[in-house]
Protein backbone atom coordinates (compact mmCIF):
# COMPACT_ATOMS: atom_id res chain seq x y z
CA UNK A 1 0.00 0.00 0.00
CA UNK A 2 1.34 3.41 -0.86
CA UNK A 3 1.57 6.28 1.61
CA UNK A 4 0.50 8.95 -0.87
CA UNK A 5 -2.96 8.90 -2.42
CA UNK A 6 -3.32 10.14 -6.00
CA UNK A 7 -4.21 13.68 -4.97
CA UNK A 8 -1.17 14.11 -2.73
CA UNK A 9 1.03 12.46 -5.35
CA UNK A 10 -0.10 15.00 -7.93
CA UNK A 11 0.38 17.92 -5.54
CA UNK A 12 3.90 16.75 -4.68
CA UNK A 13 4.77 16.26 -8.33
CA UNK A 14 3.62 19.80 -9.03
CA UNK A 15 5.54 21.18 -6.05
CA UNK A 16 8.77 19.47 -7.15
CA UNK A 17 8.51 20.60 -10.77
CA UNK A 18 10.49 23.85 -10.34
CA UNK A 19 13.58 21.95 -9.06
CA UNK A 20 16.69 23.28 -10.82
CA UNK A 21 19.53 20.84 -10.06
CA UNK A 22 19.47 17.30 -8.76
CA UNK A 23 19.11 16.57 -5.06
CA UNK A 24 20.12 13.32 -3.38
CA UNK A 25 18.34 12.11 -0.28
CA UNK A 26 20.42 9.83 1.95
CA UNK A 27 18.41 7.67 4.33
CA UNK A 28 19.94 6.00 7.36
CA UNK A 29 17.83 3.10 8.53
CA UNK A 30 17.88 -0.45 9.88
CA UNK A 31 15.49 -3.35 9.65
CA UNK A 32 14.91 -4.11 13.32
CA UNK A 33 14.25 -2.05 16.44
CA UNK A 34 13.23 1.12 14.63
CA UNK A 35 9.48 1.67 14.53
CA UNK A 36 9.32 4.43 11.96
CA UNK A 37 12.24 3.36 9.74
CA UNK A 38 10.08 1.27 7.44
CA UNK A 39 7.55 4.06 6.81
CA UNK A 40 10.32 6.59 6.33
CA UNK A 41 11.92 4.31 3.73
CA UNK A 42 8.56 3.90 1.97
CA UNK A 43 8.00 7.66 2.08
CA UNK A 44 11.37 8.44 0.51
CA UNK A 45 10.96 5.68 -2.06
CA UNK A 46 7.64 7.14 -3.17
CA UNK A 47 8.74 10.76 -3.17
CA UNK A 48 11.93 10.10 -5.12
CA UNK A 49 9.75 8.54 -7.84
CA UNK A 50 7.95 11.84 -8.29
CA UNK A 51 10.82 13.80 -9.85
CA UNK A 52 13.64 12.67 -12.08
CA UNK A 53 15.84 15.21 -10.29
CA UNK A 54 15.47 13.37 -6.96
CA UNK A 55 17.56 10.34 -6.06
CA UNK A 56 17.61 8.17 -2.97
CA UNK A 57 20.58 6.45 -1.35
CA UNK A 58 19.92 4.06 1.52
CA UNK A 59 22.50 3.30 4.19
CA UNK A 60 22.30 0.83 7.03
CA UNK A 61 22.94 2.55 10.35
CA UNK A 62 24.55 -0.61 11.78
CA UNK A 63 26.74 -1.79 8.92
CA UNK A 64 27.53 1.54 7.18
CA UNK A 65 29.00 3.09 10.32
CA UNK A 66 31.63 5.05 8.38
CA UNK A 67 28.90 6.78 6.35
CA UNK A 68 26.89 7.59 9.48
CA UNK A 69 30.01 9.07 10.99
CA UNK A 70 30.80 11.06 7.85
CA UNK A 71 27.38 12.73 7.92
CA UNK A 72 27.21 12.98 11.71
CA UNK A 73 24.11 10.78 11.94
CA UNK A 74 23.60 9.61 15.54
CA UNK A 75 20.03 8.29 15.52
CA UNK A 76 17.52 6.85 13.05
CA UNK A 77 15.52 7.25 10.94
CA UNK A 78 17.63 10.07 9.54
CA UNK A 79 17.39 11.82 6.18
CA UNK A 80 20.38 13.82 4.98
CA UNK A 81 19.68 16.25 2.13
CA UNK A 82 22.63 16.37 -0.27
CA UNK A 83 23.21 18.57 -3.31
CA UNK A 84 23.73 17.43 -6.91
CA UNK A 85 27.44 16.80 -6.22
CA UNK A 86 26.49 14.73 -3.15
CA UNK A 87 27.91 17.43 -0.90
CA UNK A 88 26.69 17.60 2.70
CA UNK A 89 25.44 20.99 3.94
CA UNK A 90 24.51 19.83 7.45
CA UNK A 91 20.80 19.51 6.70
CA UNK A 92 18.95 16.61 8.31
CA UNK A 93 15.50 15.34 9.16
CA UNK A 94 15.36 13.00 12.15
CA UNK A 95 12.01 11.22 11.84
CA UNK A 96 9.47 11.10 9.02
CA UNK A 97 8.53 14.61 7.82
CA UNK A 98 4.80 13.84 7.37
CA UNK A 99 1.76 15.94 8.34
CA UNK A 100 2.52 19.65 8.11
CA UNK A 101 6.25 18.95 8.04
CA UNK A 102 6.04 17.82 4.41
CA UNK A 103 6.22 21.56 3.67
CA UNK A 104 9.67 22.08 5.18
CA UNK A 105 10.85 18.92 3.42
CA UNK A 106 9.73 20.11 -0.03
CA UNK A 107 11.06 23.60 0.68
CA UNK A 108 14.61 22.48 1.45
CA UNK A 109 14.62 20.14 -1.57
CA UNK A 110 13.74 23.14 -3.79
CA UNK A 111 16.29 25.36 -2.06
CA UNK A 112 19.00 22.72 -2.24
CA UNK A 113 18.24 22.36 -5.95
CA UNK A 114 19.03 26.05 -6.38
CA UNK A 115 15.56 27.60 -6.29
CA UNK A 116 15.67 30.02 -3.41
CA UNK A 117 14.46 33.40 -2.35
CA UNK A 118 17.35 35.85 -2.13
CA UNK A 119 18.23 36.92 1.41
CA UNK A 120 18.83 40.62 2.10
CA UNK A 121 22.52 41.67 2.09
CA UNK A 122 22.61 42.56 5.79
CA UNK A 123 21.44 39.07 6.77
CA UNK A 124 23.94 37.40 4.39
CA UNK A 125 26.73 39.45 5.98
CA UNK A 126 25.69 38.31 9.44
CA UNK A 127 25.55 34.67 8.33
CA UNK A 128 29.02 34.93 6.80
CA UNK A 129 30.25 36.44 10.07
CA UNK A 130 29.52 33.22 11.97
CA UNK A 131 32.79 31.33 12.48
CA UNK A 132 31.83 29.08 15.41
CA UNK A 133 30.37 25.63 14.84
CA UNK A 134 26.63 25.90 15.36
CA UNK A 135 24.22 22.99 15.76
CA UNK A 136 20.51 23.84 15.59
CA UNK A 137 17.88 21.28 16.63
CA UNK A 138 14.26 22.12 15.89
CA UNK A 139 11.80 19.92 17.80
CA UNK A 140 8.42 19.62 16.08
CA UNK A 141 5.19 17.63 15.99
CA UNK A 142 3.52 16.60 12.73
CA UNK A 143 0.22 18.31 13.67
CA UNK A 144 1.73 21.75 14.20
CA UNK A 145 0.84 24.16 11.37
CA UNK A 146 3.66 26.62 11.96
CA UNK A 147 6.49 24.22 12.85
CA UNK A 148 7.66 23.97 9.19
CA UNK A 149 8.57 27.68 9.28
CA UNK A 150 10.96 27.12 12.19
CA UNK A 151 12.52 24.12 10.44
CA UNK A 152 12.88 25.93 7.10
CA UNK A 153 14.59 28.89 8.74
CA UNK A 154 17.12 26.64 10.49
CA UNK A 155 17.77 24.64 7.31
CA UNK A 156 18.22 27.81 5.26
CA UNK A 157 20.86 29.02 7.73
CA UNK A 158 22.66 25.67 7.39
CA UNK A 159 22.48 25.93 3.60
CA UNK A 160 24.10 29.38 3.63
CA UNK A 161 26.84 28.69 6.18
CA UNK A 162 29.40 25.90 6.34
CA UNK A 163 29.57 26.39 10.11
CA UNK A 164 25.88 25.76 10.74
CA UNK A 165 24.17 22.36 10.93
CA UNK A 166 20.41 22.08 11.36
CA UNK A 167 18.21 19.12 12.31
CA UNK A 168 14.49 18.68 12.34
CA UNK A 169 13.66 16.37 15.26
CA UNK A 170 10.22 14.73 15.35
CA UNK A 171 9.47 14.83 19.09
CA UNK A 172 7.37 11.65 19.32
CA UNK A 173 10.01 9.59 17.47
CA UNK A 174 12.86 10.74 19.72
CA UNK A 175 11.17 10.97 23.11
CA UNK A 176 14.28 10.78 25.35
CA UNK A 177 15.91 13.63 23.41
CA UNK A 178 12.73 15.71 23.66
CA UNK A 179 12.62 15.05 27.41
CA UNK A 180 16.30 15.95 27.75
CA UNK A 181 15.56 19.42 26.33
CA UNK A 182 12.24 19.76 28.24
CA UNK A 183 10.22 19.99 25.03
CA UNK A 184 6.57 20.48 25.93
CA UNK A 185 5.65 23.05 23.28
CA UNK A 186 6.65 23.02 19.64
CA UNK A 187 8.37 24.28 17.60
CA UNK A 188 11.23 24.43 20.08
CA UNK A 189 14.63 25.44 18.72
CA UNK A 190 17.77 24.52 20.66
CA UNK A 191 21.12 25.98 19.57
CA UNK A 192 24.31 24.23 20.71
CA UNK A 193 22.34 22.92 23.68
CA UNK A 194 22.47 26.32 25.37
CA UNK A 195 20.32 28.91 23.57
CA UNK A 196 16.67 28.01 23.07
CA UNK A 197 13.31 29.48 22.13
CA UNK A 198 9.76 28.25 21.59
CA UNK A 199 7.79 29.37 18.54
CA UNK A 200 8.79 30.68 15.15
CA UNK A 201 11.21 33.52 14.62
CA UNK A 202 12.32 35.16 11.39
CA UNK A 203 15.87 34.50 10.25
CA UNK A 204 17.27 37.74 11.67
CA UNK A 205 16.02 36.93 15.14
CA UNK A 206 17.37 33.36 15.00
CA UNK A 207 20.73 34.95 14.15
CA UNK A 208 20.41 37.05 17.33
CA UNK A 209 20.30 33.77 19.30
CA UNK A 210 23.17 32.22 17.32
CA UNK A 211 25.33 35.28 17.89
CA UNK A 212 24.80 34.87 21.67
CA UNK A 213 26.34 31.35 21.64
Amino acid sequence: MSLFDDKVKKQLQEALKPMVNNVNLALFTQTLECNTCRDTHLFLGEISELSDKLTLTVWNFQTDKDKAEQYGVDKIPAIVVLDSENRDHGIKFYGLPGGYEINSFIRIILEMSGLKEQLPDDLMKRIQGIKKDIHIQVFISLTCPYCPDAVSTAHRLALESEHIKADMVESSTFVPLAIKFNVSSVPKTVINGTQEFVGTNPLGKVLDFIEKV
Partner: protein, 325 residues
Amino acid sequence: MEFNLSLSAVATDHRAVPMDKNKVYDVIIAGGGPAAMTAAVYCMRKGVAAGFVTVDIGGQVGETSGIENYLGFNYIEGSQLVEKFAGQMKQFEIGLSEGYAVTEIKDGREKEVVLENGDRYRAKSIILATGNRWRKLNVPGETELTGRGVAYCAICDAPLFAGKKVAVVGGGNTGIESAIDLAKIAEKVTVIQILDRLTADKVLIDAMQQFNNMEVLLLHEVKEIQGDKTVHAVVVKDTVSGGEKSLDVQGIFISIGLMPNTDMVKGVVELNGFGEIVVDCSCKTSAPGIFAAGDVTSVPYKQIIIAAGEGAKAALSACDYILKE
Protein backbone atom coordinates in the same frame (compact mmCIF):
# COMPACT_ATOMS: atom_id res chain seq x y z
CA MET B 1 -0.68 8.91 7.28
CA GLU B 2 -1.63 12.50 6.46
CA PHE B 3 0.33 14.99 4.40
CA ASN B 4 -0.82 18.60 4.79
CA LEU B 5 0.99 20.03 1.79
CA SER B 6 0.44 23.76 1.51
CA LEU B 7 3.44 24.95 -0.36
CA SER B 8 3.13 27.31 -3.23
CA ALA B 9 6.25 27.70 -5.32
CA VAL B 10 9.19 29.33 -3.57
CA ALA B 11 8.84 32.98 -4.45
CA THR B 12 11.95 34.31 -6.14
CA ASP B 13 10.47 37.60 -7.32
CA HIS B 14 10.08 39.38 -3.99
CA ARG B 15 10.85 43.09 -4.14
CA ALA B 16 10.32 44.12 -0.50
CA VAL B 17 13.25 46.12 0.92
CA PRO B 18 14.51 46.66 4.50
CA MET B 19 12.95 49.57 6.41
CA ASP B 20 14.88 52.86 6.14
CA LYS B 21 15.49 54.86 9.35
CA ASN B 22 16.23 58.08 7.46
CA LYS B 23 13.03 58.12 5.48
CA VAL B 24 9.69 59.64 6.44
CA TYR B 25 7.13 57.15 5.16
CA ASP B 26 3.67 58.24 4.06
CA VAL B 27 2.25 55.37 6.08
CA ILE B 28 3.65 52.71 8.37
CA ILE B 29 1.54 49.61 8.89
CA ALA B 30 2.05 47.81 12.21
CA GLY B 31 1.05 44.14 12.30
CA GLY B 32 1.30 41.17 9.95
CA GLY B 33 -2.12 39.55 9.58
CA PRO B 34 -4.76 39.84 6.84
CA ALA B 35 -5.73 43.42 7.81
CA ALA B 36 -2.11 44.60 7.66
CA MET B 37 -1.25 42.80 4.42
CA THR B 38 -4.40 43.98 2.65
CA ALA B 39 -3.67 47.55 3.79
CA ALA B 40 -0.13 47.16 2.41
CA VAL B 41 -1.32 46.06 -1.02
CA TYR B 42 -3.83 48.93 -1.19
CA CYS B 43 -1.22 51.50 -0.13
CA MET B 44 1.38 50.28 -2.62
CA ARG B 45 -1.15 50.27 -5.45
CA LYS B 46 -2.04 53.88 -4.53
CA GLY B 47 1.64 54.70 -4.93
CA VAL B 48 2.27 55.99 -1.40
CA ALA B 49 5.54 55.21 0.38
CA ALA B 50 4.65 52.44 2.83
CA GLY B 51 6.53 50.58 5.53
CA PHE B 52 5.47 47.33 7.19
CA VAL B 53 6.62 46.40 10.69
CA THR B 54 5.59 43.09 12.24
CA VAL B 55 6.66 40.34 14.58
CA ASP B 56 5.59 37.69 12.09
CA ILE B 57 3.92 37.47 8.70
CA GLY B 58 0.51 35.89 8.90
CA GLY B 59 -0.57 36.52 12.48
CA GLN B 60 -3.30 34.23 13.75
CA VAL B 61 -4.09 32.98 10.22
CA GLY B 62 -0.74 31.17 10.16
CA GLU B 63 -1.83 29.21 13.24
CA THR B 64 -5.15 28.18 11.72
CA SER B 65 -5.44 24.77 10.11
CA GLY B 66 -8.38 24.81 7.71
CA ILE B 67 -10.28 27.89 6.47
CA GLU B 68 -13.60 27.41 4.70
CA ASN B 69 -15.11 30.89 4.77
CA TYR B 70 -12.66 33.08 2.88
CA LEU B 71 -14.37 33.55 -0.47
CA GLY B 72 -12.66 32.20 -3.53
CA PHE B 73 -11.43 29.14 -1.66
CA ASN B 74 -13.72 26.27 -0.68
CA TYR B 75 -10.95 25.09 1.61
CA ILE B 76 -7.48 26.45 2.22
CA GLU B 77 -4.86 25.88 4.90
CA GLY B 78 -4.05 28.96 6.99
CA SER B 79 -0.37 28.83 6.08
CA GLN B 80 -1.26 28.61 2.40
CA LEU B 81 -3.51 31.68 2.57
CA VAL B 82 -0.71 33.55 4.35
CA GLU B 83 1.71 32.68 1.55
CA LYS B 84 -0.74 33.99 -1.02
CA PHE B 85 -1.26 37.24 0.92
CA ALA B 86 2.47 37.69 1.54
CA GLY B 87 3.38 36.92 -2.06
CA GLN B 88 0.97 39.56 -3.30
CA MET B 89 2.34 42.12 -0.84
CA LYS B 90 6.01 41.42 -1.51
CA GLN B 91 5.67 41.97 -5.25
CA PHE B 92 5.87 45.68 -4.31
CA GLU B 93 8.95 47.53 -3.15
CA ILE B 94 7.54 47.95 0.34
CA GLY B 95 9.75 48.66 3.39
CA LEU B 96 9.71 45.57 5.60
CA SER B 97 10.84 44.84 9.14
CA GLU B 98 10.06 41.37 10.47
CA GLY B 99 10.75 39.88 13.88
CA TYR B 100 10.38 42.75 16.30
CA ALA B 101 7.20 43.93 18.00
CA VAL B 102 6.13 47.56 18.16
CA THR B 103 6.58 48.80 21.74
CA GLU B 104 5.67 52.46 21.35
CA ILE B 105 3.80 54.80 19.00
CA LYS B 106 4.64 58.50 19.23
CA ASP B 107 1.95 60.82 17.93
CA GLY B 108 2.57 64.24 16.44
CA ARG B 109 2.52 65.83 13.00
CA GLU B 110 5.30 63.41 12.22
CA LYS B 111 4.68 60.08 13.93
CA GLU B 112 7.20 57.55 15.15
CA VAL B 113 7.08 53.77 15.57
CA VAL B 114 9.49 52.27 18.12
CA LEU B 115 10.34 48.56 17.97
CA GLU B 116 11.46 46.25 20.79
CA ASN B 117 15.03 46.19 19.44
CA GLY B 118 15.19 50.00 19.63
CA ASP B 119 14.70 50.67 15.91
CA ARG B 120 12.69 53.82 15.18
CA TYR B 121 10.84 54.63 11.98
CA ARG B 122 9.00 57.83 11.03
CA ALA B 123 5.76 58.33 9.10
CA LYS B 124 3.04 60.86 8.30
CA SER B 125 0.34 58.33 9.19
CA ILE B 126 0.05 54.96 10.88
CA ILE B 127 -2.24 51.97 10.43
CA LEU B 128 -2.47 49.77 13.53
CA ALA B 129 -3.34 46.17 12.68
CA THR B 130 -1.55 44.38 15.49
CA GLY B 131 -4.29 41.81 16.11
CA ASN B 132 -4.89 39.65 19.15
CA ARG B 133 -2.88 37.29 21.26
CA TRP B 134 -3.87 34.43 23.58
CA ARG B 135 -5.27 35.74 26.83
CA LYS B 136 -3.15 34.76 29.81
CA LEU B 137 -4.39 33.59 33.20
CA ASN B 138 -1.97 35.92 35.04
CA VAL B 139 -1.32 33.44 37.85
CA PRO B 140 2.01 32.55 39.47
CA GLY B 141 4.00 30.03 37.44
CA GLU B 142 2.37 30.76 34.09
CA THR B 143 5.11 32.85 32.50
CA GLU B 144 8.00 30.87 34.01
CA LEU B 145 6.58 27.54 32.81
CA THR B 146 5.38 28.59 29.34
CA GLY B 147 6.86 26.07 26.91
CA ARG B 148 7.57 23.81 29.88
CA GLY B 149 4.08 22.42 30.32
CA VAL B 150 2.07 25.61 30.00
CA ALA B 151 0.78 25.62 26.43
CA TYR B 152 -1.64 27.50 24.21
CA CYS B 153 -1.80 25.37 21.01
CA ALA B 154 -3.35 21.94 21.59
CA ILE B 155 -3.07 20.63 18.02
CA CYS B 156 0.66 21.47 18.07
CA ASP B 157 1.57 20.16 21.49
CA ALA B 158 -0.92 17.34 22.18
CA PRO B 159 1.50 14.62 20.93
CA LEU B 160 3.97 15.64 23.65
CA PHE B 161 1.45 14.75 26.35
CA ALA B 162 0.76 11.15 25.32
CA GLY B 163 -0.06 9.10 28.43
CA LYS B 164 0.15 12.14 30.70
CA LYS B 165 -2.35 14.00 32.84
CA VAL B 166 -3.29 17.47 31.60
CA ALA B 167 -5.63 20.32 32.45
CA VAL B 168 -7.47 22.56 29.98
CA VAL B 169 -8.60 25.96 31.20
CA GLY B 170 -11.70 27.31 29.46
CA GLY B 171 -15.07 25.85 28.55
CA GLY B 172 -15.61 27.68 25.26
CA ASN B 173 -15.16 26.27 21.75
CA THR B 174 -11.37 26.47 21.77
CA GLY B 175 -11.15 24.92 25.23
CA ILE B 176 -13.39 21.97 24.40
CA GLU B 177 -11.70 21.42 21.01
CA SER B 178 -8.38 21.33 22.85
CA ALA B 179 -9.76 18.94 25.47
CA ILE B 180 -11.00 16.57 22.74
CA ASP B 181 -7.64 16.65 20.90
CA LEU B 182 -5.87 15.86 24.16
CA ALA B 183 -8.31 13.19 25.38
CA LYS B 184 -7.43 11.05 22.35
CA ILE B 185 -3.87 10.70 23.56
CA ALA B 186 -3.49 11.80 27.21
CA GLU B 187 -4.19 9.61 30.24
CA LYS B 188 -6.61 12.10 31.74
CA VAL B 189 -7.95 15.55 30.83
CA THR B 190 -9.44 17.92 33.41
CA VAL B 191 -11.40 20.88 32.03
CA ILE B 192 -11.44 23.87 34.38
CA GLN B 193 -14.25 26.35 33.79
CA ILE B 194 -14.94 29.43 35.89
CA LEU B 195 -18.65 29.62 34.91
CA ASP B 196 -21.39 27.22 36.01
CA ARG B 197 -21.66 25.70 32.52
CA LEU B 198 -19.65 25.06 29.37
CA THR B 199 -20.16 27.69 26.68
CA ALA B 200 -18.92 25.61 23.74
CA ASP B 201 -21.25 24.68 20.87
CA LYS B 202 -23.51 21.67 21.42
CA VAL B 203 -21.76 19.55 18.76
CA LEU B 204 -18.50 19.84 20.69
CA ILE B 205 -20.06 19.08 24.07
CA ASP B 206 -21.70 16.01 22.51
CA ALA B 207 -18.38 14.95 21.03
CA MET B 208 -16.63 15.13 24.40
CA GLN B 209 -19.12 12.70 25.98
CA GLN B 210 -17.52 9.76 24.14
CA PHE B 211 -14.34 10.06 26.21
CA ASN B 212 -14.24 8.46 29.63
CA ASN B 213 -10.88 10.03 30.55
CA MET B 214 -12.32 13.54 30.77
CA GLU B 215 -13.41 15.40 33.89
CA VAL B 216 -15.06 18.83 34.05
CA LEU B 217 -14.65 21.16 37.04
CA LEU B 218 -17.27 23.90 36.82
CA LEU B 219 -17.09 27.00 39.02
CA HIS B 220 -13.36 26.54 39.54
CA GLU B 221 -10.51 28.94 38.86
CA VAL B 222 -6.77 28.41 38.58
CA LYS B 223 -4.77 29.99 41.40
CA GLU B 224 -1.27 28.78 40.67
CA ILE B 225 0.78 26.60 38.31
CA GLN B 226 3.54 24.68 40.10
CA GLY B 227 6.69 23.06 38.77
CA ASP B 228 10.42 23.52 38.40
CA LYS B 229 11.76 22.39 35.03
CA THR B 230 8.29 21.34 33.94
CA VAL B 231 4.74 21.57 35.29
CA HIS B 232 3.92 19.21 38.21
CA ALA B 233 0.61 20.52 39.52
CA VAL B 234 -2.13 23.12 39.20
CA VAL B 235 -3.85 24.65 42.24
CA VAL B 236 -7.56 25.31 41.67
CA LYS B 237 -10.12 27.04 43.84
CA ASP B 238 -13.81 26.17 44.12
CA THR B 239 -15.43 29.59 43.66
CA VAL B 240 -18.50 28.57 45.69
CA SER B 241 -16.98 26.88 48.75
CA GLY B 242 -13.66 28.73 48.54
CA GLY B 243 -11.81 25.43 49.02
CA GLU B 244 -8.53 24.89 47.19
CA LYS B 245 -7.03 21.67 45.87
CA SER B 246 -4.04 20.61 43.86
CA LEU B 247 -4.36 18.69 40.59
CA ASP B 248 -1.49 16.41 39.69
CA VAL B 249 -0.88 17.28 35.98
CA GLN B 250 2.13 17.53 33.66
CA GLY B 251 0.58 20.04 31.32
CA ILE B 252 -1.94 22.87 31.28
CA PHE B 253 -3.51 24.24 28.10
CA ILE B 254 -4.91 27.74 28.41
CA SER B 255 -7.88 28.50 26.14
CA ILE B 256 -9.62 31.49 27.68
CA GLY B 257 -9.91 33.61 24.59
CA LEU B 258 -7.92 36.41 23.08
CA MET B 259 -6.85 39.92 23.98
CA PRO B 260 -5.92 42.83 21.72
CA ASN B 261 -2.29 43.89 21.26
CA THR B 262 -2.76 47.51 22.27
CA ASP B 263 -0.17 48.05 25.03
CA MET B 264 1.85 50.29 22.71
CA VAL B 265 -1.01 52.73 22.09
CA LYS B 266 -2.40 53.16 25.61
CA GLY B 267 -2.82 56.90 26.11
CA VAL B 268 -2.31 57.59 22.40
CA VAL B 269 -5.66 56.47 21.01
CA GLU B 270 -8.99 55.73 22.69
CA LEU B 271 -9.54 52.12 23.77
CA ASN B 272 -12.82 50.47 24.80
CA GLY B 273 -13.46 48.36 27.91
CA PHE B 274 -11.95 45.28 26.23
CA GLY B 275 -8.76 47.16 25.41
CA GLU B 276 -9.67 47.32 21.71
CA ILE B 277 -8.97 50.43 19.61
CA VAL B 278 -12.15 52.41 19.02
CA VAL B 279 -12.57 53.22 15.31
CA ASP B 280 -15.26 54.93 13.28
CA CYS B 281 -16.69 53.50 10.06
CA SER B 282 -13.70 54.72 8.07
CA CYS B 283 -11.14 53.16 10.45
CA LYS B 284 -10.18 56.47 12.05
CA THR B 285 -9.01 56.34 15.68
CA SER B 286 -9.27 59.21 18.16
CA ALA B 287 -5.86 60.50 16.97
CA PRO B 288 -5.75 62.21 13.53
CA GLY B 289 -3.51 60.32 11.10
CA ILE B 290 -3.64 57.09 13.12
CA PHE B 291 -5.91 54.43 11.67
CA ALA B 292 -6.67 50.90 12.84
CA ALA B 293 -8.04 47.71 11.29
CA GLY B 294 -8.76 44.08 12.03
CA ASP B 295 -9.05 42.14 15.28
CA VAL B 296 -7.30 44.85 17.30
CA THR B 297 -10.24 47.21 16.77
CA SER B 298 -13.71 47.54 18.29
CA VAL B 299 -15.26 46.20 15.07
CA PRO B 300 -17.30 43.10 16.01
CA TYR B 301 -16.77 39.57 14.63
CA LYS B 302 -13.12 38.56 14.38
CA GLN B 303 -12.99 37.02 10.92
CA ILE B 304 -10.25 36.90 8.27
CA ILE B 305 -12.50 38.30 5.58
CA ILE B 306 -13.64 41.15 7.84
CA ALA B 307 -10.07 41.97 8.86
CA ALA B 308 -9.00 42.05 5.21
CA GLY B 309 -11.89 44.36 4.28
CA GLU B 310 -11.13 46.67 7.20
CA GLY B 311 -7.47 46.73 6.15
CA ALA B 312 -8.45 47.94 2.69
CA LYS B 313 -10.63 50.63 4.22
CA ALA B 314 -7.92 51.81 6.63
CA ALA B 315 -5.47 52.08 3.72
CA LEU B 316 -7.85 54.18 1.64
CA SER B 317 -8.58 56.41 4.64
CA ALA B 318 -4.85 56.84 5.29
CA CYS B 319 -4.16 57.69 1.63
CA ASP B 320 -6.95 60.26 1.79
CA TYR B 321 -5.42 61.76 4.95
CA ILE B 322 -1.94 62.00 3.39
CA LEU B 323 -3.35 63.76 0.34
CA LYS B 324 -5.16 66.36 2.44
CA GLU B 325 -2.32 67.04 4.85
